[in-house]
Amino acid sequence: MRAPSASDIAAGEILLSIENVSLSFGGVRAIRDVSFDIKKGEVRAIIGPNGAGKTSMLNVINGFYQPQQGRITFKGETRSKMQPHDAARGGIARTFQNVALFKGMSALDNIMAGRTLKMKHGFLWQLLRVGPALNEEIAHRHRVEEIIDFLEIQAIRKVPVARLPYGLQKRVELGRALAMEPDLLLLDEPMAGMNLEEKEDMSRFIIDVNDHFGTTIALIEHDMGVVMDLSDRVVVLDHGVKIADGTPDHVKQDQNVIDAYLGVAH
């Protein structure tokens, strides 16, 4: 039922490419010479056992960590150094492994916060809420309402997020990331700690986001069933090294992957 077929994506334009990236913290080498790419319109999964370097990889992509070696090309622009706000402006949005919302603010305000970068009027204009600033806010609110409708969270629009159950907080966080209208959406374990029903809901939203908005998605996930169902291509990391890359079916049969997950006698 997914929009782009495998062959479409194989032929597709490369949105982001990682070339020979290495990252270490002191003596710990978190990522070692990893290369892969993300194509426009695909759902790309990054998987691996605990401590494989998945979250570090995401942090490299959105500029939170600076790799010591390697090149990152995003939308045709190569860089070796980038700040997170540059990444955000450039069209990369993310959600976090631990929910990182403004707890005291309502779901609506949290998602509105995702529009900050799109606001053209300055702080003072917004404070006054007159004329063009007001019109702009209405336009942004309209977009946010579309996202609320999309994620089916109308009932919690005005509820402070701290009062929401975890599954809904995750959904609000996804909403905030979507409000940025990103080209690339990074999801760090979107389904961690969810029950079956919440996982199914979230999977549906991820598919719908990809389908409806055409957003390219890179996700880290532990639930193998979810990864295999959702993603077009999977890259597998283990101890900071890329051990496999390809379609879910291909990766599932890869001996290195099986060894990494099940353990192997040394």
Partner: protein, 658 residues
């Protein structure tokens, strides 16, 4: 019988045309889109329905077909009802939360060719059982999300169907004339709708209702409550339930009032507040939940507010109902109530969204007298009605000013009610059904030879007021082994008035004594647990907590005292009880879609627990299969404790009480 319905207004599409002509600029429907209420006038509604009907016709829908309608209360689905009826097609609404099996039964039984559904979820559900529905050809949907890549040869968006119809109508004057003729060709005796009963007793039955009877019945009640096009209702009840079809759709078209569709199922209560309807219906359960939430929030309120609330609720208890019923009240009472209205009742009704309500009804089950008078004492004109799908809802309703909590009012105008020898209520009414769809045997069984319909409910006319009192389902009223009368619902309803008790199932027929299974209310008990530092990890753990047991035991003992006050019910005091480890759920078949407990089924399912209630054991093991919302099944095991309850000794009423 009812006065005849005029020929130019004997079907719902004709009424739609009449409304568009008479008050075309008044609101017909509202719905919330992207957080903002949008209004559709009668003229716009007619325009959409015509275009939609033309579009459906072009897809091959024709007179005599049936069309399923599955989903929540959305303008597009109400338009589907109207468009189908405009083409002489019989709409068959189905409960949106029905699981695939139930859905496929109804769709197959009704032989639907078309289905209008809300969203991807419903499309998927129907596709999953499509091999059982050979007659189903085409589906139309309202919400396109997630459906873009589905095979669209037999699937269309309602938006597109309307656009196609509109274009065709503009281009082809012949089509427009044909459509007008088609609407005019509809007769009052045509089947207007088939409503499937919720299945309190076994497999659901399709109740066939004709247009003139529907409109006849609605005209009577619209006059009874003097509803006009200036009224407004919130259409939040399940589309497939007779209540929604009657109260909102039928009365809405007859009176021309506006129905507002909630944004989503979860937001109904917030939408209620924003819309401020003048006509409101809710089952007793909703009023109960509203009160429970209110009480919990009051417990958390500051000292002054709490004192104010309790003081003025006391005032309302004393004088409120009398003022509403226009009975004499001392001057200082009136003053205190007036003050209370400014400080407490007004703001309270505003928060609940009931400020503008002129007429509120409740039905479906008996409402606790205390609960009923609580709302009435606040000045809310809450009334009870009694009816069933076979009667197109109304049989009796309480007229303004003659309200008694334990009766459901006198027969409505043109309704002929009688009590059979076995105590069963039977009726002839303007809205009575034509037959059960494809089930003549059942139809015969339900009708008496002289043309009355059997309701299956036991009741009697109150000697003082002449109003009808319903005791229970005729077949459910039982007797204990010693012959004492045992009305299970009566006992259960008394228990359910306690905020901690969400559901109670009473047993006793043919047994030595009465025993009950309790479902605690998670919101109320959970909030109590929080305040009292009771730690729990799950519903099951909370339900089995000794302190919760203590609390419920107190509630049951209080119920026993109140049962003992009346000599008829004194014998039905509860001796033993247990708290179930899971909530009774419609997905498991334990309650119906309208949330009525299926007592017999529950007894079978929890047979070891029922046995333990009567064999004196202190605890029992139970393992049951549960169905998750996605249809998957799992096992749930628990050890449930059973407790004895003190009863009030019954003094033999030897002529003393008489």
């Amino acid at each position: 019988m009812a006065r005849p319905v005029p020929a130019d207004a004997d079907t719902f599409p004709k009424l739609l045309i009449r409304n568009a002509r008479n008050f075309g600029n008044r609101p017909a429907m509202r719905h919330k889109d992207l957080g903002i209420w949008q209004t559709l006038t009668w003229a716009q509604l007619l325009d959409e329905v015509r275009a939609y009907a033309a579009g459906l016709h072009r897809l091959g829908l024709k007179r005599g077909d049936t069309m399923a309608i599955v989903g929540a209360n959305r303008p597009r689905l109400y338009e589907s009802l109207m468009s189908a009826q405009a083409l002489g097609v019989v709409p068959v609404p189905v409960y949106a939360d029905a699981v695939a099996d139930e859905l496929s039964y109804v769709l197959a039984h009704a032989e639907v060719r078309f289905a209008a559904v809300e969203d991807q979820e419903q499309v998927d559900k129907i596709l999953s059982v499509s091999e059982r529905l050979p007659k189903l050809e085409t589906m139309v949907y309202d919400e396109p999300r997630g459906l873009r890549d589905y095979d669209h040869t037999r699937l269309h968006s309602i938006e597109d169907v309307i656009a196609d119809g509109r274009k065709a109508l503009a281009e082809d004057a012949g089509l427009a004339a044909w459509l007008d003729a088609e609407i005019a060709a509809g007769k009052g005796s045509d089947t207007s709708i088939i409503l499937y009963t919720s299945g309190t007793t076994g497999q659901s039955k399709g109740v066939v209702l004709s247009a003139e009877r529907c409109i006849g019945a609605s005209s009577d009640t619209v006059a009874f409550d003097s509803l006009t096009e200036k009224d407004e209702a919130l259409a939040y009840l399940p589309l497939a339930w007779v209540g929604d079809h009657y109260l909102n759709y039928a009365q809405g078209l007859v009176a021309g009032f506006c129905m507002a569709c909630p944004e989503s199922g979860d937001t109904a209560m917030a939408d209620l507040r924003e819309i401020g309807p003048t006509f409101f219906f809710a089952p007793p359960r909703s009023f109960e939940q509203m009160l429970t939430r209110l009480m919990i929030r009051m417990e958390d309120a500051g000292f002054i507010k709490r004192q104010l609330f309790h003081h003025f609720i006391g005032v309302a208890r004393r004088y409120g109902e009398k003022i509403l019923n226009q009975q004499p009240v001392p001057l200082h009472g009136r003053f205190a109530y007036w003050l209370g209205n400014i400080l407490v009742y007004g703001p309270l009704k505003n928060v609940l969204g009931l400020s503008n309500v002129r007429i509120a009804y409740t039905a479906g089950e008996a409402i606790g007298p205390d609960l009923f008078s609580f709302y009435r004492s606040l000045g809310l004109n809450l009334k009870q009605l009694y009816g069933q799908t076979e009667a197109f809802l109304y049989l009796t309703a309480q007229p303004d000013g003659q309200i008694y909590a334990d009766t459901v009012g006198p027969a409505l105008p043109n309704v002929d009610l009688r009590i059979a020898e076995n105590g069963e209520v039977q009726f002839k009414s303007p809205g009575m059904f034509v037959s059960y769809f494809k089930d003549d045997a059942k139809t015969k069984e339900t009708m008496t030879p002289d043309g009355y319909v059997k309701t299956g409910d036991a009741g009697f006319f109150d000697s003082k007021t002449g109003h009808l009192k319903i005791i229970d389902r005729a077949k459910d009223v039982g007797k204990l082994k010693d012959g004492t009368l045992f009305p299970p619902k009566y006992v259960e309803n008394k228990l359910k008035f306690f905020p901690n008790i969400r559901e109670a199932v009473a047993y006793g027929d043919g047994r030595d004594f009465v025993a009950v299974m309790i479902n605690i209310d998670l919101a109320a008990v959970g909030s109590w647990a929080e305040r009292n530092n009771v730690i729990y990890g799950s519903y099951q753990e909370l339900a089995g907590h000794p302190l919760v047991y203590d609390m419920i035991q107190k509630n049951i003992e209080e119920t026993n005292r109140s049962l003992a006050e009346d000599k008829v019910t004194a014998g039905a005091q509860v001796r033993r009880f247990l708290i179930l480890h899971k909530e009774l759920d419609a997905d498991d078949g334990e309650v119906t879609r309208t949330q009525k407990v299926r007592r017999g089924f529950v007894a079978e399912r929890y047979a070891p627990l029922v046995k333990a209630l009567y064999d004196g054991s202190k605890e029992a093991d139970i393992s049951t299969e549960v169905t998750f919302e996605d249809g998957r099944k799992g096992m749930l095991s628990a050890r449930v404790k059973i407790r004895d309850v003190a009863t009030v000794p019954v003094t033999p009423a030897l002529g003393k009480a008489a």
